[in-house]
């Protein structure tokens, strides 16, 4: 994409975000059944302790990112703008580890079943934004055969550099995590889908031995190169069917943050407790921050001095698919890849001039100007990005999808 704004934080090394006194850990940071709290008001919790879990297949465990005390269960706005249950934890700043944490010995001696169990226990999800539970992804149903694992190293959203910094700074963990993920999925071929604006990470990955088991596919940095269907097509040349999943063509796609976390979890025994968040745009402290889950936005991103005078929108995630939110007392969750403050205006739609830019731009070859065939739209936002009339194309798609859901009920 022309002007991807990545330069704002590209060269900023990952640093630790300050750990706040109060953390708000949502019980549902993933797709699937919300976790049921295992602790209650007044309970002492340790860092890494399991505090939420559900008796379902599609769900993810939730752990305490700090040691301290459970203040209460609260309702809080999540990054998608929904009100959800969260545990408010008072940090005692001791970071006392949970004694129940296990150690795993030599990573390469772990079996597929053990790896799948570890992935489930550690609460791993896709950390690119959708937060789909990873243990579900790596355990395909019996009738689907997985032969290919793709590491989604595209990070095609403008502004974001969280994955890029991990690839650059922690190639050894990425390579270990990817190797373990390949074993967990029983994939034969492993491909790294990398955008050509991130070639600087290749030397590190090669030195860490990635080419012993994986192929690096360099793709043009054209948004949305990291959208699953586009990535599968570009990296291994397979066409995911309409309304289908990569699984339907034997492919599992995993995120850089998830792979890194798997390696770290096995090295340290700690579950998913923190993630890298790119803070960018007009925030006063642009950078890439390793942030404890449950940290409020206001504790990691600092507002500029002119915040009250100018028109802004706060965005959770990337600017193309992220969510605009109205406030900063929202917790960082497993899927929070970025936190952006963008100068913004409200534009009126004008007449469609039939320029066909939306048709040419759509990576799924839909007709965005028409209200047909949009069930499969992944809302990448490219049509609205290029529309000279500034039509609310993505909004229309969402409305139609919502209306259909209502009708189905």
């Amino acid at each position: 994409m022309h002007g991807d704004y990545k330069e704002l934080t590209r060269d900023r090394a990952i640093t630790n975000a300050p750990v706040p006194e109060y953390l708000y850990v949502p019980l549902s940071q993933h797709i699937g059944a919300p976790a049921v709290p295992l602790v209650a008001r007044g309970d002492r919790v340790k860092r890494g302790q399991l505090i939420g879990s559900a008796d379902a297949f599609v769900t993810a465990n939730v752990h305490s990112p700090v040691s301290g005390e459970v203040v209460e269960q609260v309702r809080i706005i999540n990054p998608q703008g929904r009100t959800v249950d969260a545990l408010k934890i008072k940090n005692d700043f001791q970071d006392e580890l949970d004694p129940a944490l296990k150690t795993y010995g030599v990573p390469d001696e772990l079996s597929t079943d053990m790896l799948r169990e570890i992935i489930r226990e550690m609460g791993l999800v896709g950390m690119g934004g959708a937060a789909f539970p990873t243990h579900v992804k790596v355990s395909p149903p019996k009738d689907k055969k997985v032969d290919t694992l793709i590491l989604n190293a595209a990070e095609c959203e403008p502004y974001l550099n969280a994955d890029y910094r991990l690839l650059l700074e922690h190639p050894n963990e990425i390579v270990l995590g990817l190797r373990l993920m390949a074993r967990a999925t029983r994939a034969v071929w492993v491909v790294v889908g990398l955008e050509d604006n991130k070639k600087s990470v290749m030397a590190g990955l090669q030195a860490a031995g990635i080419e012993e088991f994986a192929r690096i596919a360099v793709m043009p940095a054209v948004y949305p190169a990291g959208a699953e269907k586009v990535l599968v097509k570009k990296a291994v040349g397979r066409q995911v069917p309409k309304k289908g999943l990569p699984l339907d063509v034997g492919v599992v796609v995993v995120n850089v943050g998830t792979v890194y976390q798997l390696a770290r979890s096995i090295q340290t025994g700690l579950p998913l407790l923190e993630r890298v968040v790119t803070v960018s745009g007009e925030f006063a402290n642009p950078g890439n921050y390793l942030t404890r889950l449950g940290t409020l936005y206001q504790d990691v991103a600092r507002l500029p001095d002119n915040y009250d005078q100018k028109d802004y929108r706060i965005v959770s995630g990337g600017p193309m698919m992220g969510f605009a939110v109205s406030r900063l007392d929202i917790p960082v969750t497993k899927g929070t890849s970025g936190l952006l403050l963008l100068r913004s205006q409200i534009f009126k739609e004008s007449n469609c001039i039939r320029c066909a830019r939306c048709v040419d731009a759509c990576p799924l070859e839909l007709l965005p100007y028409q209200d047909r065939g949009l069930d499969e739209c992944m809302e990448c936002g490219l049509c609205a990005f290029v529309c000279p009339a500034r039509k609310y194309l993505v909004q229309q798609v969402r409305q139609q999808k919502a209306a259909k859901k209502l009708q189905a009920k």
């Binding site: 605009a324 963008l342 039939r354 993505v394 909004q395």
Partner: protein, 310 residues
Amino acid sequence: MKILAVSPHLHSGTTTRVLMRDVLIALTPVLLAALYFFRWRALALVLVCVISAVLTELLAARIFKKENKVQDLSAVVTGLLLAFCLPPALPLWMAALGSFFAIFVAKELFGGIGCNIFNPALSGRAFLLASYASFMTTWSRPLDAVTAATPLALAKAGSAVDALTSAAAQAAGQTAVYRDLFWGAVAGSLGETSAAAILLGAAYLFCRRVIDWREPFSYLATVALIMFLAGQAVLFHLLAGGLLLGAFFMSNDYTTTPMSTRGKLIFGIGCGILTSVIRLRGGYPEGVCYAILIMNMFVPLIDRLDLKRQ
């Protein structure tokens, strides 16, 4: 103010106004060529057409109680393009009337920008041709404004220039005539005579990605192929008349042409066939205007093909 809105939160910045501004920039070489060859007549016609187009747009907004959209610059583009397909000696009030027809009838009565079926500038020209046929077919020589026939008319009448249309004569070398066709020192509409100026403007639009190759090249390739098969001088037919202006600035008008690749190719090929048939067999020496207008009618049908495919 804090803004909540659905993603995407970025925009390319290329709005309708930016696109129209680019078209105006691309038409500047054509305008300069017209001013050079046809002097104050060109200036007067361009001013009359553009001003009456803008005034008509304002009037339509008033009458239909709509927001006035003059700032999107589309009326300026229409006025300029209409002036470019008029003969230099046309009375100014006729030009104003044609401009009124283009904007009021062809564009605003159909719903305004984005809703018209026919290319407004070409509709204005067709209206004038039907109403004032003799004025619309009286051409003047560049620079000295003496009444003269266009190269296509001469070719059709089988006069001296006829020799030029045969491949043999072309091989014998009529470089002087081709030079005039390329630079624009021939009789014709204001903006159609200079191939060099049109190609320069089109190159700018390609570089800015405002237009793409699909309609113009399928159009030109079809004309070239048919003229070749008919034993005509291919280069002469590409350079003479309004073909280049039509191909690069009208056959790819966003609103009045199809939206898919396949549709655009069908449209360009259709324009090429109709233009060639009119030039070779029709009563008029030139066929670009009617070819594009006739193909405009098929656009809803062509677009339906793509809906079916979905």
